[in-house]
Amino acid sequence: MNLLIVLLIPFGLAAAAPGVCHLTNRLTGWLLAAPVAALTVLVAAWGPDVWREGPRLSHLPWAPSIGLSLSFRLDGLSWLFALLITGIGALVTVYAGAYLGAHPRLGRFYASLLFFLASMLGLVLADNLLLLFVFWELTSISSYLLIGFDQEREAARRAALQALLVTAGGGLALLAGFVLLGQIGGSFELSALFPQAATVRGHSFYGPILGLILLGAFTKSAQFPFHFWLPAAMEAPTPVSAYLHAATMVKAGVYLLARLSPLLADTQAWFWSLTPAGAITMLVGAITALCKTDLKQILAYSTVSVLGILTFLAGLGTVTALEALAVYLLAHSLYKGALFLVAGAIDHETGTRDTSQLGGLRHSMPLTAAAGLIAALSMAGLPPVLGFISKETLYEAGLRAPQHAVVLTKLLVVTAVALFAVAGAAGVRPFFGPPQAPGRQPHEAPVGLWLGPVILAFGGLLFGLIPGRLEQAVETAVRAVAPDRSVQVRLSLYHGLNPALMLSALSVAAGFFLYRLHARYPGPIEPWPALARLAPARAYESALLALNRLASWQTQRLQSGYLRSYLLIIVTAALGLSAVPMVMHRVVLPLSLDLNPRWHELLLGTVILAGIVTAVRTTSRLTAVASLGVVGLGIALLFAWLGAPDLAMTQLAVETLTVILLVLVLYHLPDFSRLTPARGRRRDATVALAAGGFMALLVLIVNSTESDSRLAAYFLEQARPLGRGCNVVNVILTDFRALDTLGEITVLAVAAVGVYGLIRLRLHGGRRA
């Protein structure tokens, strides 16, 4: 129960954010951060309970008939993530207030940011796979809104769309994988699936499930070759990059891999798909990062590299690897969040993020510099910061890999060396050397801008000095991923003179050399010129282009823009699709017609027919409209007489509104005349008569056959006792089938917005596609 409330608080905050912004423009960041900070404390306080008593579960049925429930699970893994999400979320909320200042769309920004926070929290707390998928897609959508926040810039819009298409596309694969998993396991609840791990791994669907889920995880966590959306997403405001695209959202894929490890890991397929993918990603990311000069691009590619390392570790799957995964994840979130926020502060104060134009900032921005330097130490893996410990455990994991340990460790060392140089370029160089002269004189950033990075960076330092305090948390997290293995975590700065320490020393020396070498080439470097044409980003562009071409080709074929041809296609298709099965199934036609119409029904029928004939034959538009109105009203009256007053009422209202709409567009319509040649008119008449005749036949068949549906009887019987209403139609709409109705009104709203968009596009002289 209280886990649901943890989610409802940030969702509520997101809804309230625009109002809060409206009332208190300058203090918004602090005001909104306060409840998030309180949430962090609440989550943190649950930690000891989780360590002692195991996972905390809560369950609420949502749509039980399809296996969807609001079930949540707080275990060591989700606790670690939840703490990062809320804690860094609070700091970023403060930071964004200072960073964006009095931005006119600040309210919308905070609404999207907090909505993301809530969705991400839901993602890591969900115990139901379908629920997890819902939150997964919600994070993609809020990420879309946040990347495209500067909606006037085309680059931002493109990057937002790219991130959405890549991650939501992967999300669809993920859903398919989840559905298969649920089919095998008979449940979508993780708690119910975990005991069936052996069944899942032995099932013939294991391969497809693994492939689909990995597609979802790899796109979300920017694994090669899907990594390209992440650097492009740097179009987002810097607080967003720090929060979504370094600390939290991009780790969702890694989280999923860890979460599903008890079900899917420990197979050769798992090892051979995750470890190589992670290895390629960490190398490509680290090397590309060295070639960039834009601070955010450097940080983005190094994030890609770290995500590769985390995937690599998940692939190894040993207890040591999982321990390294947890520690590295924590260390990275702290230092990368800090470095992004530092980059934002530098950009805010100097107006540039180009490392070749930055230098000597430690004098003018001492606090920001301190945060940047400590974060860089952590990233480089130097003592006494948490990054050092995480790199040590990383080497341990490589050395103890179940297979190919030597090769894998070498790859890790190469990555660490490159990341060392990247840390220097991003976190050290802007603050040292001769002060450069960018456009203006930089000053120390305001408190909102340095508080976040300072806390994150010093957090990394603190945990480096007292790593013992992390042991319980890491141990519980690893136990959540590997439940049936004995886990004993010991974290300290000095483990004795072991191979990992030797490798550390080696990589620091090599990294320092690389850093000095790199400093001699200030400009940006094109990393893979020969391969540029094969770059995944190019493939994305061409795929999108091809899709658009296909769309416009089929639009030209199918969409003539004339209502008459649409009607013809729709009516013919409906006729064919319903007549063919009837013929195939040899539906018996009613032979005896026992209609016995009463005189007023006959009269009404004649009036309706007269209206139709007039509408068809008239040469005046007003007459046509009026006679169609007669037809409509006649049908409404028929409904009323035949005992369907609801339908009659709705039909009446629709008729009225149709007339009003026609009046509104009357002046815009072309002259009312006969444009279609006689042959076309004969064809239309045939189709119309056939469709009408078919409908009449259908009604007769339905009335003459005994229906064995128990549904109607059920609804009629239960409307009063269960639905507490006498109007059965309304009880069905609002109670028995309320979920359907909710879907329908959603479609209605979307359609209305679509019509609005089309009309406005025409108004503003928009070009026709």
Partner: protein, 137 residues
């Protein structure tokens, strides 16, 4: 050109139509009516205002943008499912409270009416969004 007859008539007709639409919404659970028919009737009231007094006047009478009605309606319908959820039952399960009436007996207030009010708002918003935009063309 404004027709004096239409302007005068709509001054009395529009409020009547609106009141009727609410009445239809409220009685919907037991007698013919409901959110859909009610919403259509309410849109007819504003559409009448568009024809008689022009779009600007109709927009002023509505006070909020039709877009807003769409969102508000969807949220209303959505939130009507939450009480059931908090009570530990499936989403959108109807819940009822007997409200004692001052005179005699009681009236069953249910989440169903809240849901239907959402339908009403969405229908109103959707129709007016299209009518207003067309009328402004």
């Amino acid at each position: 050109m404004r027709s004096l007859i239409l302007v005068t008539a709509s001054r009395y007709l529009a409020p009547l139509l609106l009141a009727a639409s609410v009445w239809i919404l409220l009685r919907g659970h037991n007698e013919p009516g409901g959110g859909f028919a009610g919403g259509l009737l309410a849109s007819a009231a504003f559409a009448l205002k568009v024809v008689s007094n022009g779009v600007a006047a109709a927009r002023r009478a509505l006070r909020v943008d039709p877009h807003w009605l769409l969102g508000a309606g969807l949220l209303t319908a959505l939130t009507s499912g939450l009480p059931a959820l908090l009570a530990g039952r499936p989403f959108l399960t109807a819940g009822w409270i007997a409200v004692p009436l001052p005179a005699a007996g009681s009236w069953d207030a249910g989440t169903v009416l809240w849901f239907d009010a959402g339908v009403y708002l969405v229908v109103l918003g959707a129709v007016l969004l299209i009518v207003f935009t067309l009328a402004e063309e």
